[in-house]
């Protein structure tokens, strides 16, 4: 008998076991429920509630950038784009539609029974009508955009190729990322269609309202194939101009009675910068719109895909100011109540530059005008005649420190049409006015004088003797420029400060530098703004190759640091370096804007007002420096007198140019009704990179050109009757050679430009520039400020 099977005690024990398992399982369920409802309850409740909100976001506009006259330099322009669905571009849309229609006609049940050939036959019945729609669409697009069939086809092929490449790279990246995170294999990876494959693509950008309206009507006949999307583009209306420049005050080689119209492209583009309409991961990380955890909107000014982001220049530096905040309308689906937050447009940025002046100066610096080409009167022994040179010019208003023009040639727009070798040589990306430190050369002499006078190491009114070379018994180093074969080993003899400046005597300033010593002179140069970026409004953080964050946009230049001084001491070159520092050679460099700024400080008697591009800085970050070097009237007067004589006295280096063949002389500064105080500088430059072996690239195999000089002309100008400097001007021509001969005539034209634009009295008969809008039609310039 099978009694033992059913001994109550064993069976009941088993039942208890079963009950135990049941209770255990229920406890596990209970614990998980506790976790979800109590521990995570509020988060989950919020997540569930968030689905009850129906949110729409209201768009906003980016702030504008204006110049000092209120002209709008950068703005969002509303327009329409005609964008065609990707499937229509590839042709698969027509196939889908025909398949759908065929399937509907045949009936679902029958469809599954058909074999592939029969299916294709059925589809082909309907395909032509869909194809006709597509043909109609392309016809209308070609008509509206005035495109030939090949041009359109090329555009479409480019889009398809672009999207395919993007898809492959996106999938590859996704696969690698998933592999790194989750250990997926190729089999498990699911390639989902990338955004661009299910999006419409713009075929006709920025069409007129009429065209947009026509296409909207067309949409009723051809639904779901394309989109008339309203968009906005960042436009720079003052980017291109035609500037008529007079030539009757130029050196005789290029003088002409009639003006010439110079086309300039990329006016102020280094400064204004650019935007991209792709949002990158780091933008979203820096300022996300949605909180990554709760997925709720956190910052209405945050980034969403499709937004526009500044990439460089003012657009980048003031990204957060220019960017507006979106608005939000939140409707609760259950209660229907709404609340609304309005969108805020971005804040405008006001720049101190005058765009008409900027365009005019850029035209002056164009090789087409002639002043920035190697010309006969420049006596450039090393470079071929007619070779175009790169240059920069800065104009600062002395009283306020505001920058009226900041020109760097070549501009970015000019760089875009260069081939790689030209780009390597000319570096169009660099803003030479603020980002390229050059050795100052003689330009620094007024600052040396001021330093020595303030340190009571030189009494104004005394003289120092120029004996041709500074160190006794060493006639080949630390020489005056006059002490050369060419000039018959001349010496200046005893000179007072003013004459020494005007004649640019090296010995005088070696002496002052020697008396100061390198530390004191360095300290004074620092006070005048060297070795420190002025932060005019172009600096922004960027990541370098090593992943570190650095500030780019402006450079600080270089002055001797304690480490450098120690090295020089160790190499026993200290004395030599000390004295040549007084004439702006050695471990010292500055940018053109620092040069103009230093001269403006001098003109202000030592009051520091750092040059700036902004009327007021919306970042409100740091308070402007308010220091006064207290130079005192005697020092300033002595320096200014020296600078005046340099230009006005016959022995001044900035007075005239001489034509070698017939020794005819021409005055450099021939502008009338103005006072000019200026210093020329011929600064020994580092060797010039050249493609000497003509292999199309500049590398170690090429020999750079030695012995070249940068040409400087830096000074002050003011109205004749006031005897006070009003503007500081700095002009530098890379590898231009002699300061007076090359940069002098340019500075002369800059003064005339200031006169034309009404900043100085005098020559106002120059015709105004015509600015060309992006659509190619010239807009008459809104002339601000005739006399």
């Amino acid at each position: 008998m099978n009694k033992d099977k059913f001994i109550p005690s064993m069976f009941h024990r088993r039942l208890v076991l079963v009950l135990g398992v049941i209770v255990l399982a229920m406890s596990a369920l209970g614990a998980q429920m506790f976790r979800l409802t109590v521990v995570e309850g509020s988060v989950r409740r919020a997540a569930a509630e968030s689905k009850l909100d129906r949110r729409t976001y209201l768009p906003t506009t980016r702030g504008r950038v204006l110049d000092r006259q209120g002209r709008v330099l950068a703005l969002d322009q509303a327009s329409y784009d005609i964008a065609v669905e990707y499937d229509v571009i590839t042709g698969s849309w027509m196939a889908f539609q025909a398949t759908d229609e065929a399937r509907k006609k045949v009936g679902r049940a029958r469809w599954t029974e058909l074999n592939p050939e029969q299916r294709i036959q059925a589809i082909n019945e309907f395909l032509p009508s869909w194809q006709a729609k597509s043909d109609r669409l392309w016809f209308e697009i070609r008509k509206a955009g005035n495109l030939s069939a090949e041009k359109l086809q090329r555009q479409l092929d480019a889009i398809k190729a672009d999207v395919q490449t993007k898809a492959v790279s996106v999938w590859e990246q996704q696969f690698l990322r998933e592999q790194a995170l989750y250990g997926t294999t190729e089999v498990q990876f699911q390639a989902r269609p990338i955004r661009e494959q299910s999006q419409p693509h713009v075929i006709l950008p920025r069409v007129s309202d009429d065209v947009a309206f026509e296409f909207k009507r067309l949409q009723m006949e051809l639904p779901d194939m394309f989109e008339v999307a309203s968009s906005s583009r960042r436009e720079y209306p003052w980017m291109n101009a035609e500037v008529p420049l007079p030539r009757n005050s130029l050196p005789r080689t290029i003088r002409h009675a009639d003006p010439v119209t110079i086309k300039v492209a990329g006016v102020a583009d280094h400064m204004l910068g650019a935007v991209r309409d792709e949002v990158w991961a780091e933008d979203i990380k820096r300022r996300p719109f949605f909180d990554p955890e709760t997925k709720q909107p956190r910052d209405l000014g945050g980034y969403l895909p499709g937004d526009v982001v500044g990439t460089r220049g003012i657009e980048r530096v003031f990204e957060d100011t220019l960017r507006g905040t979106r608005g939000m309308v939140n409707e609760r689906r259950d209660t229907q109540e709404r609340n609304r937050v309005e969108a805020e447009p971005g804040t405008d940025i006001h720049l101190t530059i005058d765009i008409a002046l900027q365009a005019r100066i850029q035209a002056l610096l164009s090789p087409q005008y002639g002043l920035t080409r190697v010309q006969d009167w420049q006596n450039n022994q090393l470079l071929p005649q007619g070779m175009a040179l790169n240059s920069a010019a800065v104009v600062i208003e002395v009283e306020s420190g505001e920058i009226l023009a900041l020109v760097s040639m070549p501009t970015l727009a000019m760089g875009e049409v260069m081939n790689p070798l030209q780009k390597q040589i000319n570096m169009p990306v660099v803003n030479r006015a603020a980002e390229m430190p050059y050795p100052p050369g003689s330009i620094i002499k007024p600052l040396t004088l001021a330093a020595a006078a303030k340190e009571n190491l030189f009494a104004l009114g005394n003289s120092i003797e120029c004996e041709g070379h500074y160190f006794e018994g060493k006639p080949t180093i630390a020489r005056c420029w006059f002490y050369r074969e060419r000039y018959g080993m001349g010496t200046h003899g005893p000179l007072g400060a003013e004459e020494a400046l005007a004649r640019s005597c090296n010995i005088f300033f070696y002496t002052l530098a020697d008396r100061l010593g390198i530390e004191r002179l360095t300290a004074w140069l620092g006070r005048f703004g060297l070795g420190r970026a002025l932060d005019i409004g172009l600096m922004h953080p960027s990541t370098d190759e090593d992943g570190l964050t650095i500030l780019v946009g402006e450079r600080a230049g270089e002055i001797p640091t304690p480490k450098v001084i120690q090295e020089l001491r160790d190499k026993r070159e200290l004395k030599y370096s000390e004295v040549i520092l007084g004439i702006g050679q050695g471990p010292v460099t500055w940018t053109p804007v620092q040069a103009a700024n230093a001269f403006a400080t001098l003109a202000r008697g030592g009051v520091i007002r750092d040059a700036t591009l902004l009327t007021h800085d919306p970042r409100g970050s740091r308070p402007p420096r308010c220091e006064d070097l207290n130079l005192g009237r005697p020092v300033v007067e002595a320096a200014l007198e020296g600078l005046r004589r340099s230009v006005m006295e016959e022995y001044g280096t900035g007075h005239h140019i001489t034509y070698e063949e017939d020794k005819v002389r021409e005055i450099i500064i021939n502008a009338e009704k103005v006072n000019v105080w200026a210093k020329t500088g011929t600064a020994q430059a580092p060797a010039m990179p050249m493609d000497s072996n003509r292999d199309g690239v500049i590398d170690k195999k090429d020999t750079p050109l030695k012995g070249v000089d940068h040409s400087w002309f830096v000074g002050l100008v003011g109205p004749k009757d006031s005897n006070k400097p009003m503007h500081a001007i700095a002009v530098v021509v890379e590898y231009g050679g002699s300061g007076g001969r090359t940069s002098g005539p340019i500075a002369n034209q800059v003064i005339r430009a200031l006169q034309s634009e009404g900043y100085l009295p005098g020559d106002a008969d120059a015709p105004s520039a015509a600015f060309i809008s992006a659509a190619g039609e010239p807009e008459p310039e809104d002339d601000g400020g005739d006399e």
Binding site: F6, V18, Q32, M33, L36, T37, A47
Partner: protein
């Protein structure tokens, strides 16, 4: 009426007057106990059904009304099941199983017209009877329990390890047929039922443990044989458990939504209107059948969920007590089998709702909407009631059989 017999020495196989007197008395006593443990199960089941109706009413009041109708039908069916002695089930076990298998095969035949077997979501599980759909797998479940109970009652060899494998292999037949439908969820119910019944019948625990361990270690190897959507669900669960939101919006959305709504309920729940809104706008799928537990927890909070689980516990306790009090081995095993299958179903359903198990197509007994599942489940309640109602018989009764045989 007493019958006097000649006294003789007690011998196995013979009966004494006392035994005869007692047995005769027992012949006269009514064989049905109206107050029995089974009512505990009935009450729990009724409460759960009412909770279910209320939960369904949160979002779909028309379904709730229909569910009331299903409940009435089901209760009637249960009472019908309870009336005749469950012995007949024992006799009909094999024919019932064959019928169930035939129905399972019928559902899978591809030539059957869609008016009879309507595929839903690619699964061929239901036979359309006009007023309601009818799942052969439900019949198979009941038939399986009964057949297995019959088998275990008449055999002994499951005490040995190899003897276990035979019923395990035979169980494979209905399991595979259900799996092909496809219906992974229902398939998963067979095994716990099997193990529970074997444990109750007396199989050695270490053998069972060995089989379970072997099975679990081989389970991951079956992954490639699963259908893609089944694999997706396992992937989604793994991702969810690791806190990875990768699949939250595609294959894992059901689980994610369910968990969100379960959590949203908090301790006390959010009330009817709010729950209805949250469920609607969070797009909870299957909110009246598979995911009904999420509705319960959302509307009545953790306390509501705990209440439901407690009601199930009451139900299971009632069932186990029925098994304990019943002296008949067949009855015991059937009771244990029913409890085991209901328990597995409840655990799998609630587990998937709260994110511990992958999504399957199993409904929550009594609470989920559905005519055929309601009727099938209540029929099982009827069987339990049936077992509980029968007066416990003495062991001696059995010896009658052996004597004759």
């Amino acid at each position: 009426m007493t019958v006097l017999a000649s006294p003789s020495p007690a011998k196995p196989g013979t009966f004494t007057t006392t035994g005869l007197r007692v047995n005769t008395r027992s012949l006269h006593q009514p064989r049905v106990m109206f107050s029995n443990v089974g009512w505990l199960c009935v009450i729990a089941a009724l409460c759960l059904s009412v909770v279910g109706i209320a939960a369904i009413a949160t979002t779909e009041s028309s379904y709730a009304v229909r569910q009331v109708f299903h409940l009435c039908l089901a209760v009637i069916g249960a009472l019908v099941m309870a009336l005749p002695h469950y012995r007949w089930m024992q006799r009909l076990a094999v024919p019932l199983m064959l019928l169930a298998l035939a129905l399972l095969v019928f559902v899978l035949i591809p030539w059957v017209p869609q008016s009879i077997v309507r595929p839903r979501g690619g699964a061929r599980r239901w036979i359309d009877l006009g007023i309601t759909d009818f799942q052969p797998s439900e019949v198979a479940k009941i038939a399986y329990i009964i057949t297995l109970a019959t088998y275990l009652r008449t055999r002994q060899n499951y005490r040995g390890f190899l003897g276990l494998l035979i019923p395990l292999a035979l169980s494979g037949i209905p399991m595979v047929l259900v799996l092909i439908e496809p219906n992974l969820g229902m398939t998963m119910l067979f095994l716990p039922t099997f193990f529970a019944m074997l444990i109750a019948a007396g199989a050695k625990i270490k053998h069972i443990a060995l089989i379970i361990v072997l099975g679990l270690s081989m389970a991951p190897a079956s992954y490639p044989f699963l259908r893609p959507h089944q694999r997706d669900r396992i992937d989604a669960l793994l991702a969810q458990v690791q806190g990875d939101p990768r699949h939250e919006d595609d294959i894992g959305y059901q689980g994610a939504r369910a968990m969100t709504l379960v959590g949203a309920g908090g301790v006390l729940g959010v009330g009817k209107q709010k729950a209805a809104d949250l469920i609607e706008y969070n797009h909870l799928p299957e909110e009246h059948n598979d995911m009904v537990f999420a509705v319960v927890t959302c509307r009545w909070g953790m306390l509501g969920g705990v209440a439901v689980i407690t009601l199930f516990l009451v139900f299971f306790t009632g069932g186990l007590l029925t098994a304990a009090l019943c002296k008949d081995p067949f009855g015991r095993l059937v009771a244990v089998g029913i409890i085991a299958s209901m328990f597995s179903q409840m655990t799998i359903n609630i587990g998937m709702t709260i994110g511990l198990l992958p999504i399957t197509g199993l409904t929550l007994p009594f609470v989920s909407y559905g005519g055929s599942s309601m009727i099938a489940t209540w029929l099982m309640v009827g069987v339990l009631l049936n077992i509980a109602m029968r007066r416990p018989q003495y062991m001696a009764r059995r010896s009658f059989e052996f004597d004759e045989g």
